[in-house]
C-alpha cells in the first residue's frame, strides 16, 4: 500500500458521529412526523445559508480527519515497506503546496518581500539592509514592483471566472433536478428559483454556494504562487493554519456534546421520572458541579492531565497522538462541565410529561419503567436535546479560543484558532503591525460561529413549540403571497 491509515481517537469518534448522523437521517426520512420540522428548517433562508457554510466547514474538517502515513520510497528493504513518522491527513496532501513552501518569518498577505529587513550581500561585496524577496511567495515575478498588481489582478479575474463557471454548473444541475422532480422545463425551474417561488429558499442557497465557490477558486489561483493570508512567525502559511484549525474547532463543538448527551439524558430523565431520592441525588450532583466556576474546573482538570502526560512520556509514541488525546480529554472535561444545563431542562420536562394522561395510562396498564421511558418520554424530549446540541456548538467553538488563551486549551503543538490568536496577540505591538494571523483566525471563527448560530436559530424555531413569536420574514412578497393563497 502506498500509505498506512492511522486512526486517531478523535477521528474514530468523528466518524462514529457521522455514522450516527447518517443513521438518524435515514430514520427521519421515513417518518412523516419527524420530517415535518426539518422541512420547516429547510424553508428558513438564514438557516439554510448557515447550513451551506457549515457544510463547507464540515467537509474540510472531515478531509482533515482521514489520517495516514505515507510510504517512504527507496529506503525500504525488499518485501517490507517503511512508512513516514509524520502523520498527515487527506487535507494536508491536498494542500501540500501550501504546507511545503515555508518562508523564513512573517510576510504580509500576497507579499513578495519579507516582513523583516535582512542584511543582504551584493555581488560586489557590499552589504545592504533591505526586505529580501520571499523564497516562494511571488517568486515567479521577474520585476515584482511592476508586475505584481497586474499578476494579482489577472489571477483574481481568472479565479473569479472559474468560480462563476462552477457556480453556473451547480446551479444548472440543481435546476435540472428541480425541473425533473416537478416535471417542468429547465428554464422554468431557473425562473422559479430566482424569483423565490419555491418553498425551499434555493435562491439564497445558490447565492451562498456561488459566493463560496468564487472565493474558494480565487484563493486557490492566488495560493498557487502567493501566501494569500501571509505567513506566521516561523514562516508557515496562515491560510493553511486557518484551514487546519477548522477541524479542531469542529471536534470540540461536536465531540463535547457526544460526551455530554449520555449524562444529561440519562440523569435528567431519571431525576424527573423517578423523583424521590434519585431526584435528590441527581439534583445535588449537578448543583455541586455547577457551583464550581467552569473555567476553574476545566483548568484544574487540564492541569492534572498535563501533570499526568508529563510524568508518563513513554505512553505517547508521537506528539500528534499526545495532542490528539489531550484534545479528546478537553472535550470530555468540557462535556462534564456542560451537561448540567440540559439535564435540568430534561428533568423539568420529564416532571411535566410523567403527569400526563397517556403516561399515567401506560403505568396503569403495567408497562415497565424502561419501556415507558424509551417509548413515551424520550421521543417527547428529543426536541429539547436537539436544540441544546445545536445551540451549544457555537459557544464551545468560542470557548476553545478563550481556554487556549488561558493556557488550558488544546496542546500547543495543535493548530487551533485559540493557539493562532495566542501566538499572534503579542505581535500587535510591532510596527508595522502583524495583523494577518489574528484577522484570519477571527475571520474564520466568525464565519463558522455565525453560520452555526443561524442554523441553530432555524432549528430552534422549527422544533420549539414554545416559540410563540413568529420569526419576522425578510421577504414581504412571500408574506403577501401566503395571504393571497389562504
Amino acid at each position: 500500500m502506498p500509505f498506512q491509515p492511522v486512526i486517531l481517537w478523535t477521528d474514530a469518534l468523528v466518524f462514529l458521529l457521522l455514522a450516527v448522523l447518517i443513521g438518524v437521517v435515514v430514520y427521519v426520512r421515513k417518518r412523516e412526523h419527524l420530517r415535518k420540522p426539518w422541512q420547516r428548517v429547510s424553508q428558513s433562508p438564514s438557516g439554510m445559508v448557515g447550513a451551506v457554510v457549515l457544510a463547507f466547514f464540515v467537509v474540510i474538517g472531515l478531509l482533515d480527519s482521514l489520517h495516514f502515513r505515507v510510504r517512504l520510497d527507496g529506503a525500504a528493504p525488499a518485501g517490507k515497506s517503511v512508512y513516514a513518522v509524520e502523520i498527515t491527513s487527506v487535507l494536508d496532501q491536498m494542500l501540500s503546496s501550501l504546507r511545503q513552501r515555508p518562508e523564513k518569518t512573517y510576510s504580509a498577505p500576497l507579499a513578495y518581500r519579507s516582513y523583516a529587513r535582512e542584511t543582504v550581500e551584493l555581488p560586489g561585496g557590499r552589504q545592504v539592509r533591505e526586505y529580501p524577496r520571499l523564497t516562494h511567495g511571488g517568486a515567479h515575478l521577474k520585476d515584482p514592483e511592476k508586475e505584481w498588481a497586474g499578476d494579482v489582478g489577472r489571477r483574481v479575474l481568472a479565479g473569479g471566472a472559474i468560480g462563476f463557471i462552477l457556480w453556473l454548473l451547480t446551479g444548472t444541475i440543481l435546476c435540472a433536478a428541480i425541473a425533473h422532480r416537478s416535471g417542468s422545463s429547465l428554464d422554468r425551474a431557473w425562473l422559479s428559483v430566482m424569483r423565490g417561488e419555491l418553498d425551499v429558499p434555493w435562491r439564497a442557497i445558490l447565492m451562498t454556494v456561488g459566493l463560496l465557490l468564487i472565493l474558494a477558486s480565487i484563493t486557490a489561483t492566488l495560493a498557487a504562487k502567493y501566501h494569500v493570508l501571509g505567513t506566521s512567525k516561523v514562516g508557515e502559511d496562515v491560510l493553511y493554519q486557518s484551514l487546519k484549525s477548522i477541524r479542531t474547532a469542529l471536534v470540540i463543538g461536536t465531540l463535547t456534546t457526544l460526551v455530554m448527551l449520555p449524562f444529561a439524558i440519562l440523569l435528567g430523565i431519571a431525576a424527573g421520572y423517578f423523583k424521590g431520592w434519585a431526584d435528590d441525588i441527581i439534583q445535588y450532583l449537578y448543583t455541586t458541579l455547577n457551583a464550581i466556576p467552569a473555567v476553574l474546573l476545566i483548568a484544574a482538570a487540564v492541569l492534572m492531565m498535563q501533570v499526568y502526560i508529563d510524568t508518563r512520556p513513554q505512553a505517547f509514541p508521537t506528539a500528534m497522538e499526545r495532542a490528539d488525546l489531550r484534545l479528546l480529554f478537553l472535550c470530555a472535561i468540557l462535556g462534564v462541565t456542560s451537561w448540567t444545563g440540559l439535564c435540568r431542562l430534561l428533568r423539568g420536562e420529564t416532571l411535566k410529561l410523567r403527569e400526563l394522561d397517556y403516561i399515567q395510562a401506560a403505568q396503569a396498564f403495567g408497562v415497565g419503567h424502561a419501556r415507558i421511558i424509551t417509548r413515551h418520554i424520550l421521543p417527547n424530549v428529543m426536541h429539547i436535546v436537539l436544540i441544546a446540541v445545536v445551540m451549544e456548538f457555537s459557544g464551545l467553538v468560542l470557548a476553545e479560543a478563550v481556554l487556549s488563551y488561558v493556557g488550558v486549551g488544546v496542546d500547543p503543538s495543535m493548530t487551533s484558532f485559540g493557539t493562532m490568536i495566542n501566538a499572534a496577540r503579542l505581535e500587535m505591538a510591532r510596527d508595522p503591525m502583524v495583523w494577518w494571523s489574528l484577522a484570519s483566525a477571527f475571520g474564520f471563527m466568525f464565519l463558522l460561529v455565525l453560520s452555526a448560530n443561524l442554523f441553530a436559530d432555524a432549528v430552534r424555531d422549527a422544533f420549539d413549540p414554545r416559540v410563540a413569536v413568529k420569526p419576522f420574514r425578510f421577504s414581504l412578497r412571500g408574506a403577501l403571497r401566503k395571504k393571497a393563497a389562504t
Binding site: 464550581i292 473555567v295 476553574l296 474546573l297 484544574a300 501533570v307 488561558v406 493556557g407
Partner: protein
C-alpha cells in the same frame, strides 16, 4: 421566609462538601503531590531530596486522609485533607506557592475586580434593556430585523476580538486611554473605562436578543391587549406594563451573577493588567499554583450558592405571587 433561608443555607453545606471532595480528588488523588513537585521543580532539578523538601515547605508531606503516626484526634487533623481542604470552610486559604497569604491577596484584589465588574454589569443591563425595548417597540419592521441580525452577528464574534480590537483602536491608534494598568482612587477611571465599554459591547448580542424575546412574550399576553383596548398609547403599554412584567425574569436572571462579580473577569483583567481576582486566577493557572486554584474554586462555589439564594429571595420581592415556604 427566615425558616426558608436557614434551610437553604444548611442545604449549601453538603454542596460545599461535595465541591471540596471533588477538588481534593482532582488535586491529590488523581495526581500525587510527588507529581506536582516534579512538575514544579522542572526536569533538571528533580531529586528525591528536592521533592521531599518541596513537599515539606508546602505541607504536602503528610498522609492524605489518615495519619497513623499521630495520636488521638491528630490522626484526622494532621493530614493533607484537613490542612488543605477542611480549613477552606473557615476561609483559611493558607499560603500560595510563593509563600504569600492567599486570603490577604484576595481581600486586596477584590476592589479592582469590583471596579471593573460592577459598572459592566449595571451599564450592560441598562444598555441591553434599552436596545431590546427598542426592538420590541419597532417589532416586525426593518429596524427590528436588522437589530436581531446585528445581535446574532455580535454574538458570533469572539470576546477576544472585542478586547484586542478595542485595545488596538482606542489605545494604540487614537491614544485616548492607556492600554493597560490600574491605579487607585479617581485615577482608576481612565484605566477602567475602556474595559467597561468593551465588556458592555461584548454582552449586547446575547443579552439584548434574550431580553427581546422576553418582551415579545409579554407583548403577546392578554393584559397587554386589555391595556391597548382601554386606549393606552403604545409607549405607555410598553413602558408601563411590558417593561415592568418583563423585569421579573430579567432581574432574577441577573441576581444570580451578582455574587460572582467578586471573582472578576478572567480575560478582561489579564488583558488590561487590572490587579483583580480574575488576573490572579489566570496567573495561578499559568504558574500552576494549585493552592490558589483550590481557594478560588471554593470561593466561587460559595458565591454561586449565595447567588442561588439571592435569586429565590428576589423572586418573592419582585413577584408577590411567589411565596417561599
Amino acid at each position: 421566609m427566615i425558616g426558608y433561608i436557614v434551610r437553604r443555607v444548611l442545604y449549601a453545606i453538603p454542596i460545599l462538601i461535595g465541591v471540596n471532595l471533588l477538588t481534593f480528588a482532582l488535586f491529590f488523588v488523581v495526581n500525587t503531590p510527588d507529581d506536582m513537585a516534579r512538575m514544579q521543580l522542572g526536569a533538571k532539578r528533580v531529586t528525591p531530596e528536592a521533592i521531599e523538601r518541596w513537599k515539606a515547605e508546602r505541607g504536602y508531606d503528610k498522609p492524605l486522609l489518615w495519619n497513623d503516626s499521630a495520636d488521638g484526634i491528630e490522626r484526622l487533623t494532621d493530614t493533607i485533607f484537613y490542612d488543605k481542604s477542611v480549613r477552606l470552610f473557615v476561609f483559611d486559604f493558607g499560603n500560595a506557592d510563593d509563600g504569600r497569604d492567599i486570603a490577604h491577596e484576595i481581600s486586596t484584589r477584590m476592589g479592582p475586580s469590583l471596579a471593573l465588574a460592577v459598572p459592566v454589569f449595571i451599564i450592560g443591563i441598562l444598555v441591553n434593556i434599552s436596545f431590546a425595548l427598542m426592538m420590541a417597540f419597532f417589532r416586525a419592521t426593518y429596524l427590528d430585523f436588522w437589530g436581531v441580525v446585528s445581535c446574532v452577528a455580535m454574538m458570533s464574534i469572539s470576546g477576544l476580538f472585542y478586547i484586542i480590537g478595542g485595545q488596538y483602536l482606542i489605545s494604540k491608534v487614537w491614544h485616548l486611554v492607556p492600554i493597560s494598568g490600574f491605579a487607585g482612587g479617581t485615577d482608576a477611571l481612565k484605566f477602567v473605562i475602556l474595559p467597561v465599554v468593551i465588556g458592555v459591547i461584548g454582552g449586547i448580542g446575547a443579552g439584548a436578543r434574550w431580553y427581546r424575546t422576553i418582551f415579545l412574550e409579554e407583548i403577546g399576553k392578554d393584559y397587554v391587549r386589555t391595556a391597548r383596548a382601554k386606549g393606552l398609547r403604545e409607549s405607555a403599554v410598553l413602558f408601563g406594563h411590558v417593561l415592568k412584567n418583563g423585569m421579573i425574569p430579567i432581574l432574577t436572571g441577573a441576581v444570580v451573577v451578582i455574587p460572582t462579580l467578586f471573582l472578576g473577569s478572567l480575560l478582561m483583567e489579564s488583558f488590561f493588567g487590572i490587579p483583580g481576582l480574575g488576573s490572579y486566577t489566570i496567573d495561578a493557572i499559568q504558574a500552576q499554583d494549585f493552592a490558589i486554584v483550590r481557594a478560588m474554586v471554593f470561593l466561587g462555589a460559595v458565591l454561586y450558592i449565595l447567588g442561588l439564594l439571592l435569586t429565590d429571595i428576589s423572586y418573592t420581592l419582585v413577584d408577590p405571587r411567589v411565596r417561599l415556604t
